[in-house]
């Protein structure tokens, strides 16, 4: 058994449109360890949702490989296996829950698809609802429209967890919910994580949330991971100028807010027009001579598992590379 639940190796996803070819994912590699809470952060359009879809096999790859427990996830049976072991929930449960199905049917469906014995269904559905804090007798016969946003997200989590997967990918799971309800949903997820050693991926634009709850964070920009490492290192001591800019922009709910600051200019470019060299260089306050020509790879910065793709660190990188990774 490998330490990684899932591994993504150098994957690329392209979307063709009238405006050209969008490089939605452009050589992304990522390891997701068993029981780990991994945060994937970045602005809209950076490719974080595409990455999740690619990992679930919902997106065809231009290149690269996704594996679970060291085994490829391509092919029909491998995909079935993947879905049993890793599940996904989305931002808006109102759009993903079938409006004409009752909670009972929604949560039972994965068991039917995976061919779990009928006799087990009711017990497992009740258990899953209890796990997410919904009293089965009150909610089994309800339709999605009869529930609040928070309750619907709980149903989505129950349906994802009824198969007792080892991993759950959450794409902006709480960004549509009110603050008080948001905390409840996060508490449900983290409690399950702790009790079952469930691995979680939080895809979010909320850096404070990722910092607060994740073991590790990967920061994406225009289809690439530009920095990754332990959550505290990446957010409190960011290395890549883009991560620094993101952290600086976070509004702070404390007296005085975040104070005065220098903000990044401009916007995320279109993925059909990825700049040459370092893709961040046109917006980068620290760019220097070769940044518009040399595409930087991820290199170790500081601690062994903290990496950034920036030429500022390429010299340090040569020394660091001799240290075995993951030491």
């Amino acid at each position: 058994m490998s330490a990684n639940l899932m591994s993504v190796k150098d994957i690329s996803v392209r979307f063709k449109s009238r405006d050209g070819v969008a490089r939605a994912l452009d050589g992304v590699s990522l390891d997701w360890k068993r029981g780990e809470v991994l945060g994937v952060v970045g602005e809209s359009g950076c490719g974080k949702s595409t990455l999740a879809r690619a990992m679930m096999g919902l997106q065809s790859l231009e290149g690269g490989q996704v594996s679970i427990d060291g085994a490829k996830t391509t092919g029909r049976s491998a995909r079935g296996e993947l879905r049993r072991r890793v599940q996904m929930i989305f931002q808006d449960p109102y759009q993903t829950l079938n409006p004409r199905h009752r909670v009972k049917e929604i949560v039972t469906e994965p068991l039917v698809v995976q061919g779990v014995a009928r006799s087990e269904h009711e017990g497992r559905v009740r258990q899953a609802l209890n796990d997410v804090g919904l009293e089965p007798d009150r909610y089994l016969d309800r339709y999605p429209h009869q529930m609040s946003g928070g309750q619907r997200q709980r149903v989505a989590i129950a349906a994802a967890l009824v198969l007792e997967p080892e991993g759950l990918i959450c794409d902006e799971p709480v960004s549509m919910l009110d603050a008080s309800v948001r905390a409840q949903i996060l508490a449900v997820l983290l409690e399950l994580q702790r009790r079952r050693d469930l691995a979680l991926i939080f895809i979010t634009h909320d850096l404070s949330l990722a910092w607060s709850l994740c073991d590790r964070i990967a920061v994406m920009y225009l289809g690439r991971v530009v920095e990754s490492g332990p959550a505290v290192d990446v957010i409190e001591r960011p290395k890549h100028p883009y991560t620094r800019a993101l952290v600086t922009a976070v509004p702070v709910p404390a007296p005085g807010g975040g104070g005065r600051r220098e903000l990044l200019k401009g916007e995320l470019p279109d993925a059909t027009q990825v700049p040459p060299g370092c893709r961040f260089h046109p917006r980068c306050p620290k760019r220097f001579e070769p940044c518009d020509r040399t595409d930087p790879a991820l290199v170790a910065v500081g601690t062994a598992s903290h990496e950034a793709a920036c030429l500022l660190f390429s010299d340090a990188a040569h020394a660091e590379r001799k240290v075995p990774a993951d030491a």
Partner: protein, 335 residues
């Protein structure tokens, strides 16, 4: 500073249900007030009532008086007819809607949408002046005037939101109400738009009512804050005072649930339950069923009263000197 806006006992009813139930607001010229709260608490309804733009079926009562600089008689908004309001809206108060960037006319170019607003309110201006003001407005909100020739779909979300702010400023109002102006934007663009609002406030002496569910956004941008719950203001005061020393259990628990980078990691015990139905709050203190500190007395209505200088709360037990610990504080604390 002199007073710009005074709202007294604002009530908005849907049939016999009060969605906004006795809201008082005072705003000085050039001041910014943040209106916080979860969905259904009445913050957007309050904003619409200030503009007398409530949808059909809702009725409002209570005094709303606006005293813009250079206008001799205070404008008594609550006494104005619809026709009378049309000369007030956009000219004296304007509104940047929630998700406003999708409310631009898709088949009209940006510059003609802005000049239409100017012409509607100021019939005397010449075509040349309108054109130069449109360019000036676009520059003010950080867009190059060239973008005026584009259609909304040719702009990004952040650019469209800037156009909406330019529209709100077109007639040089003294009060802008912005309802979740950055909710649909990414963090960098959000920070840019908030910085823009702050700069405009300095430069134009604009007063701002900023409505947001995001307490971080309000902490960054506002002088004062009012926290709403079930149609009422439950806490209000200077932003720093409310964030440093909240005096209502709702505000306290909300703030505790928000991570602050560099502070304590993990998840504080969440507030149980959900916000009450609009217009149908629990008796007494509307927060009492969710409050970890509630007692029998909470079945009585707590008045909003000053508990710390310049800082009011509607809780029988304010001022709170210390907060007893609630539940297991270690959920999700990770190494």
């Amino acid at each position: 500073m002199s007073q710009l806006l005074k709202v007294e006992g604002l009530r908005v009813e849907h049939g016999s249900k009060a969605i906004v139930d006795g809201v008082d607001i005072k705003l000085q010229r050039g001041e910014s007030l943040g209106l916080a709260g979860e969905s259904g608490c009445g913050k957007t309804t309050t904003a619409l009532a200030l503009m007398k733009m409530l949808p059909e079926g809702l009725s409002q009562s209570g005094g709303i008086t606006l005293s813009p600089a250079g206008v001799d008689e205070p404008i008594r908004i609550n006494k104005r007819t619809e026709a009378g309001m049309q000369v007030v809206r956009w000219r004296h108060i304007s509104l940047v809607f929630q998700g406003a960037m999708n409310s631009l006319d898709p088949v009209q170019r940006i510059d003609s949408q802005i000049s239409e607003v100017i012409r509607l309110h100021e019939e005397q201006v010449s075509g040349r002046e309108v054109r130069s003001r449109v360019d000036e407005l676009l520059t003010t909100v950080g867009l190059t005037p060239v973008l005026g020739g584009r259609y909304p779909h040719q702009l990004s979300g952040g650019q469209r939101q800037r156009v909406m702010i330019a529209l709100a400023l077109a007639c040089r109002p003294s009060l802008v109400i912005a309802d979740e102006p950055t909710t649909a934007l990414d963090v960098v663009m959000q920070a840019q738009v908030l910085q823009l609002l702050e700069r405009l406030r300095d430069e134009l002496g604009l007063a701002l009512i900023l409505i947001s569910h995001d307490l971080g956004v309000l902490a960054e941008t506002c002088d004062r804050i009012a926290v709403m719950y079930a149609g009422r203001i439950v806490e209000t005061g200077a932003v720093d005072s409310v964030f440093a020393d909240p005096q209502h259990p709702y505000t306290k628990r909300l703030l505790a649930s928000l991570p602050v980078i560099g502070g304590e990691r993990g998840l504080a015990p969440p507030i149980p339950g959900g916000p009450p139905d609009p217009g149908d709050p629990p008796a007494g203190c509307a927060f009492h069923p969710r409050c970890p500190y509630s007692q029998e007395r909470c079945l009585e209505d707590p008045p909003l009263r000053e508990v710390v200088p310049g800082h009011s709360a509607a809780c029988h037990f304010s001022p709170w000197r210390s907060w007893p610990a609630v539940g297991d504080p270690t959920i999700g604390v990770r190494s």
